[in-house]
Symmetry: D2
Subunit: 334 residues, 4 copies
């Protein structure tokens, strides 16, 4: 039985971690921290967990957290997470950081996020389908939601050296923007609307460039949108190839690449099928009239495979469990 | 040609007034005020009006407003509106106040709103189907959105002395809660949800009691909800009668009562049919197995007949125009 | 380990049963039937179950089904279910019937449904919080979705003899209407809308009358609506009492009544908190200004506690398992 | 005063034509045809028009229609429309055909639609911003919804010879799929979802290729999606240019190109701002880190500028009216 803690347990990723962990058969959640909600029962803030989680929020204390837990999840804003890693570093505890702080090398991080990481450390980018070395990591940088869906969609074709240009057009549910009400998340603004944002400047582009760049030479474009939905990212990957391909060839590449990836299902992406889960469903279409054009589609739950689910998958691997343990649920359809 | 102004032109009711007035054939909008947005083009804040409204927001000045306008709409929070009425009172200008400040007698107002009205005045409750005297008013108190849909639904049966108990269960689009993002209007909270609020204490109950009480002796219950939609209020009026009725009898009562009401349509309420309009669609069903039970349904656009549309209807009547002038548009369906 | 089968496994209740059962720790699903889809993998029709259910649909055969299974769920249209019960009756197999066929006594059934039940039998109404005798039943009639939410909301006050009139105004997600596309479920008709239906004639009223009538003397009204959501029923119970009550008294009644009901949570109903679960969340408000008026609110997942979840709860009880076994999941919020 | 008719007046484009035309100050609608609904009042099928349209549906008769009308709108399925044109051709009546039958040259039409046009004729492609010759046409082929939003988004840059590759990723409200309930339009399938379809094979691609090909040399990709909304198309045009550009240069190109286009507004696209209107709102962003990448966004109402609104704009031009006549309404926001 693993003892784990969630540092920053009131946002959507923290609450999704608690939702997954409270029914994980190998895990006991012994800690959920929040400075602001210290002393309040978790179920008062997260009433969907009433009856399942009896913890109270406590304030973060590095030594106590490390003593009590085998592994800690950091569900904190970027910048803040690195501070916590610093205080935890001398203690013997594994860490899955869900912020952006350790996803990029320090120099690129500084450029993309506009400030230096206060405590740069070697970390493993926690996309297990592309990074089996997660199993040996002490500090895992859990990927961004968009890069997860985008990288998994294109990886097999990029790794085969086929992709010249990859244009990722992603549509995300609004839960990705967090629990804080904003003009964008205001129902009358979001309903019946699709809103592009950070059109050429979204920080997740750097992660996609990094992960696909390790696999092959490709030019990357990325435009995120929010659509009127709560959970889920549908990514449309418009790929321009270096040569013509056949549907069979593409199918073989995907089947081989994901042969040992239990969370990747090669079927028509439909967000309800992955809702609440750690699955990534992928399908593609070769333009028969112009077979250098391939469109790949992927669907994930942005809070699942795009955040908390993947974090638990990383925990499983880091702690020697089967990666599907406590995570292999059917999607909530309809 | 009437010259009119909108005082408080940035919220949803102010913006809906501008939307209706900018294409009204007998009206010139010469003024839109906002302290906060003073000097900015209206179309910068309300880009759906780009190309149609070239005004800039100005700061409210009572004398200048009264000089420039035949009629002013006050789209202000309650409390604030009365202050503006006070400054306008000595000037020669008609007023339609969309706040709650003049809807109730001063003593009831003080009890319901928890403070005295700083400038109590005689006003006419602006529900023209029940109050033809609107045409002679200088100051009209535009009704609340819920009381409009509820009172119109039950009025014919209450006026016939038939209704003992009226339980109004109303479902409103979230635009009724205003432009300010809140936890309730946060998309992930509102989507796939129906949220009751002010369950036994909503202030609009007093208006329904007042308007139906003028027509007959009836006990009133009222519970408002928001549902995942932007515009529209569907009111389900569960009526317990004093005696059995027949469907024919009820039909006759409604046809007679609304014979000269161009904005009341006796047809199955469906919110899209009234979207963007000043219509109130009404239908009913007598329980054949227990004919003292009648359920009446009404549909309005909360920003239309429930606010700005009705305010323009009142303006038309106060200024001697046909009440349908500039208001007789088809609903935006689908 | 129980062996169970789902007869009629392609609709929403059948698919929800499979979703719950495929991860139930004491259950093996050995059968899913569909005449139309015979021979096709379940996961082709229900791709959210891909990787979790490897069954193929087969055609129903009473003897084979009874031989293979300890318990069968019937997820069939009313009328059809009774036919299946008839063929199963001579075999030794427990049955949870999710249709309406055994919820009412034969005479009332015939009146409400317009035809006689072709195979009337003694069955237990499967609302375990009100009917502990479920544990001894061979044939359980799983309740309707609306009656579950409505009866649980009002039961404590009705059982205390306090309620004179109960007006249930229910708002359901559209999944309750089934998988078949209709004009009502057509997205442009349902979006931004609330649609009342069967306003005074819905068949579920008879179940509410039956269950509350066992507890006390009460007049029942019931109007169902669909709102723009997929799962969930929010029921607003407008209760007119026989005498004044205090909030404390009401609280005590609810706490006592549901003291041993693990799936009833006395907290503010919010549909996301019960999404995908078997919980029923209940709260109430006494009108302080008029303390004979109490409004009670309940939230369930219409496919969970309103159908498949409750069916699994009944299975647990009928088979000697703890009623929460395989069912105690947190709601999918947000 | 023009006399006009709508042939095929029961679908969404036919009903939107009636909605626009019934309040058009220069138009009298004298005819609405439907074989199936012959003899029924239009307002029974389209209750949002109750009080505004008193016509009954009649059966189509070419001679009678041509005698009664100066101009006919054909809101019919492709294939059927050409048949009607054939019967109308010898009569003196202008035609705006909203089907696909006359949008493409006969040879390309046959390839794309899989059958020859039964009555090929010279027609003008009715995208007035690109085709001023509409004013002299007798038969106008009203463009597809997607091609309108896509072509207007990219036209200025393509006409400047700058665009090498244009990847159009379009997100449409589901009303584009028509009034007939389908699995895709079934609320539980569409809600909380984004559904790509005809991923590399959508027929509208041929129109985009045609219209942009007239302006410059460009490779076109196009993937349509439906999102959970009723009206509106947001098109994200990912453009790969032949050389670096500056934001100022791009701004100048758009301002010049659309200087005389009253329905094109150069402002941030937000679907509510164009809802119910004939506007196309356009904005763009040059990637400063890689200035050969430009992303252009456009927003239209698929039933407005994407269908009926544009048809009325074409009517205005064909009949010598100002193109904005009866069409210059503010969008229905929020």
């Amino acid at each position: 039985m693993l003892s784990v803690g969630v540092v920053g347990g009131t946002g959507y990723t923290g609450s999704e971690l608690l939702r997954l962990l409270c029914v994980h058969p190998e895990v006991r959640v012994v800690l959920a921290t929040s400075r602001k909600e210290k002393g309040r029962p978790v179920a008062d803030l997260l009433p969907h967990l009433r009856g399942l989680v009896s913890l109270e929020y406590s304030e973060f204390d590095a030594r106590a957290a490390a003593d009590a837990c085998d592994l800690l999840f950091l569900a904190l804003p970027h910048g803040t997470a690195a501070d916590h890693v610093k205080h935890l570093w001398e203690h013997d505890v594994k860490i899955v950081d869900l912020s952006a702080d350790y996803r990029l090398p320090p120099d690129i991080y500084a450029k993309v996020y506009g400030h230096a990481n206060p405590f740069p450390q070697q970390a493993t980018y926690g996309l297990p389908e592309l990074r089996p070395e997660v199993a040996r990591a002490r500090l895992v940088a859990n990927p961004g939601c968009y890069p997860t869906g985008a990288s998994l969609a294109a990886a097999p074709l990029v790794a085969a050296g086929l992709v010249e240009l990859a244009v990722f057009d992603s549509k995300s549910g609004i839960s990705g923007a967090g629990t804080e009400p904003t003009a964008t998340s205001h129902y009358p603004n979001m309903a019946e609307n699709v809103i592009p944002y950070s059109v050429t400047t979204h920080r997740h582009r750097a992660e996609i460039v990094q992960e696909l760049g390790r696999l092959g030479d490709v030019r990357v474009r990325f435009v995120p949108h929010v659509f009127p939905g709560v959970r889920g990212i549908l990514t449309t990957a418009h790929l321009e190839l270096r040569r013509d391909v056949t549907p069979d060839e593409v199918e073989r590449l995907y089947r081989d690449f994901y042969a040992r990836a239990p969370f990747v299902r090669l079927q028509k992406p439909h967000l309800a099928n992955v809702r609440g889960t750690n699955f990534c469903d992928i399908a593609w279409e070769v333009n028969r009239a112009s077979p250098r054009e391939v469109v790949v589609l992927s669907a994930i739950d942005n809070l699942g495979k795009g955040a908390a689910g993947q974090a638990v998958q990383n925990m499983n691997l880091m702690c020697g469990l089967d990666q599907t343990r406590g995570l292999f649920w059917p999607g909530l359809a309809p």
